[in-house]
């Protein structure tokens, strides 16, 4: 049991105690909080609430150790959490970024309605399945030399464009315009680079997916129009990250940060939260390597967007540029941002683990086209449930360092999911609901069964009611490609 106090509707505080430098703050309704408490009771040592407390103990953390309603137990830090650290006095912590650096979602908007694509639905599903490399051991058609890998790490999505994959306009609609500036490829190991040589433009597996979706409901007509969305429209969402390269940057950094934690005599309550002062050589090296891996994920999603456009071009006979990037968000990231702390604007390193940036209207870094409505926040559901497009708000800038939720959040372990469902019946159930699943393994599909996740409608309602995001549209899954 972790002590929590209700401070507002859907807002809970974990009061400061022991070595916590700041309180914890969790955005959840009563049922979601009860589930978190139940988990804490069952597994007192390793649970999401305990992980939120642990992050609060890290040096230089500002205001709160935050968690969004999709929060669930992760490694080190909970998935669905945010920690903002003072640029001068704070740390960069492994567990708040994790292995799949800049895993994220890029959503493409097509000009088609469901009715227009329906006659070719199966053909499109098959074309996407053939086109998008996914699953264990899959490799892309692009073969990179080590020098080219360095270019990917420095240029991000621009590398894809320069090599004929993607559209220039996409860059306006990716966080950081698809390229982190302070990236240093020389800080990434050869092992990591070797892993990318044939993995650029691959989806991976686990919770990664490509999904063709239909806009089922428009909540805010004006914002939807500003984002170019309309009822019945076909969208495509690509969820994946920095592949083996990012995972290896993580694995390599774990060791380096373990040493740094000892060297700087930092207290970490969980070894997975090993860290380094941001201003130390180790901290800067880690940040630059994370930025390089972040660029790798940008490039990866841009190549996958290109492959998706190709499938639409072949099946639907349209031009590449008619499939536009709505927006791309990253989940496991470290970003230098300015936010108000105690009424002063401060430079912070905001580390988001399984949460996204969600800047409000008028914020810098929001594309000009969306300046009035705010940054699109894409929330990915499961293969059988809704996903959402929301927008960031002023309130989120004040309350959560401009952060929002990233998905539904798991509630059932993979081991339990495998005991509960079998992949074949999941595929059949979804087919009955009109959702075509093309997967590379039935086991992976069972692990990702919709029932293994929280109710996304409930989770999204919490942030919308709290004013952290505004609902724009809800989409339903239509075709799912899984690794």
């Amino acid at each position: 049991m972790v002590k929590t106090e209700s401070v507002d509707q859907d807002v809970w505080e974990i009061p400061r105690s022991g070595k916590m430098n700041v309180p914890g703050r969790v955005w959840a309704n009563k049922a979601l909080m009860d589930a978190l408490q139940e988990e804490a009771g069952e597994k007192p040592e390793w649970n999401a609430l305990n992980q939120i407390q642990n992050v609060a103990m890290l040096p230089g953390i500002q205001k709160y150790s935050l968690a969004l309603p999709d929060v669930h137990c992760g490694y080190g830090a909970a998935v669905g959490s945010v920690g903002a650290f003072g640029w001068e006095e704070g740390v960069i912590a492994f567990g708040l970024i994790g292995f799949d650096i800049n895993c994220g979602l890029q959503t493409l908007a097509t000009p088609f309605t469901e009715a227009e694509v329906l006659p070719k639905k199966k053909e499109l599903a098959d074309a996407l399945y053939k086109t998008i490399p996914a699953g264990l051991g899959s490799s892309g058609k692009i073969k990179l030399s080590l020098d080219q890998v360095d270019e990917v790490l420095e240029k991000g999505a621009r590398f894809a464009l320069e090599n004929g994959y993607g559209l220039k306009e996409d860059l306006h609609f990716l966080e950081e315009s698809g390229r982190m500036q302070n990236a240093d490829a020389s800080l990434v190991s050869v092992d990591a680079k070797e892993r990318l040589k044939s993995q650029l433009g691959t989806l991976g597996s686990g919770n990664h997916y490509l999904e063709v979706q239909v806009v089922e409901r428009v909540f805010d007509e004006k914002s939807a129009r500003a984002l170019g969305l309309f009822e019945g429209q076909i969208l495509v969402s690509i969820h994946c990250g920095s592949r083996g390269l990012g995972h290896q940057v993580g694995a390599d950094s774990l060791e380096a940060l373990d040493k740094a934690t000892k060297k700087y005599n930092l207290f970490v309550p969980d070894r997975e939260l090993v860290c380094a002062p941001i201003q130390s050589e180790e901290g800067q090296n880690y940040l630059k390597a994370v930025n390089a891996a972040t660029n790798c994920a940008f490039a990866n999603r841009e190549v996958l967007a290109h492959l998706t456009r190709g499938a639409f071009e072949r099946v639907m006979g349209i031009k590449e540029k008619e499939v536009c990037t709505l927006y791309g968000v990253g989940h496991n990231t470290a970003k230098v941002e300015k936010h108000k702390v105690d009424s002063k604007t401060r430079k912070l390193l905001v580390q988001r683990k399984g949460s996204t940036r969600g800047f409000g209207p008028g914020s810098r870094d929001v594309p000009e086209k969306y300046a009035r409505v705010g940054q699109p926040v894409i929330v990915g559901g499961t293969m059988g449930t809704h996903s959402y497009v929301l927008t960031g708000t002023e309130k989120a800038m004040k309350e959560t360092f401009g952060s929002a939720l990233h998905g539904a959040g798991r509630t059932l372990s993979r081991v339990k999911a495998l005991r509960t469902w079998n992949g074949e019946s999941v595929v059949q159930d979804l087919a009955r609901k009109g959702i075509l699943v093309r997967g590379h393994g039935l086991k992976g599909i069972a692990e990702e069964a919709p029932g293994a996740y929280k109710d996304i409608d409930e989770v999204v309602d919490v942030v919308a009611r709290a004013g952290l995001c505004k609902k724009v549209v809800r989409v339903k899954p239509w075709i799912v490609v899984k690794g």
Partner: protein, 140 residues
């Protein structure tokens, strides 16, 4: 013996053996059992993996991560592991000959790709006179 244990988002791998070496070997089998039907992986091609770490826990994590590097670089999966551990003055050294073959997407029935091994729920303990347990959470 090896087993997988529950974690909300990821998976725990656990190996139990009559020595640390055996516990490490079993944990490696648990790792690959997430990704493939390891009983169908022929242990024909040997790959050597060497790592060093200041303690046994970090050594286990580094070992599992090194196996994932070998998987990606060679496009192989493994089902048999011969581990030799040596304790030095300041650190531990591990040498492993992992045996396996190229991934066969039909025969091996690939499951979920493991991204990395973590320090989370990392436990190395002697559970009996001749029983050693090694475990950690792996990110999938």
């Amino acid at each position: 013996m090896f087993e997988l244990f529950e974690h909300q988002a990821d998976v725990g791998v656990r190996g139990i053996g009559r020595s640390w070496e055996e516990a490490f070997q079993e944990t490696a089998k648990a790792l690959f059992s997430i990704m493939v039907r390891i009983e169908r992986v022929k242990h024909v091609h040997p790959v050597r993996v060497q790592v060093r770490a200041p303690d046994l826990g970090a050594l286990l994590v580094k070992f599992l991560n090194a196996l994932l590097v070998a998987r990606d670089k060679k496009g192989m999966v493994f089902s048999a592991f011969d581990v030799v551990l040596t304790q030095g003055k300041e650190d531990w050294a591990l040498t492993c000959t992992a045996r396996g073959e190229k991934l066969n997407v039909v025969r091996h029935e690939p499951g979920t790709e493991v991204k990395a091994a973590s320090y989370s729920e990392l436990v190395l303990k002697k559970t009996g006179a001749k029983e050693f347990l090694a475990q950690c959470i792996v990110d999938v």
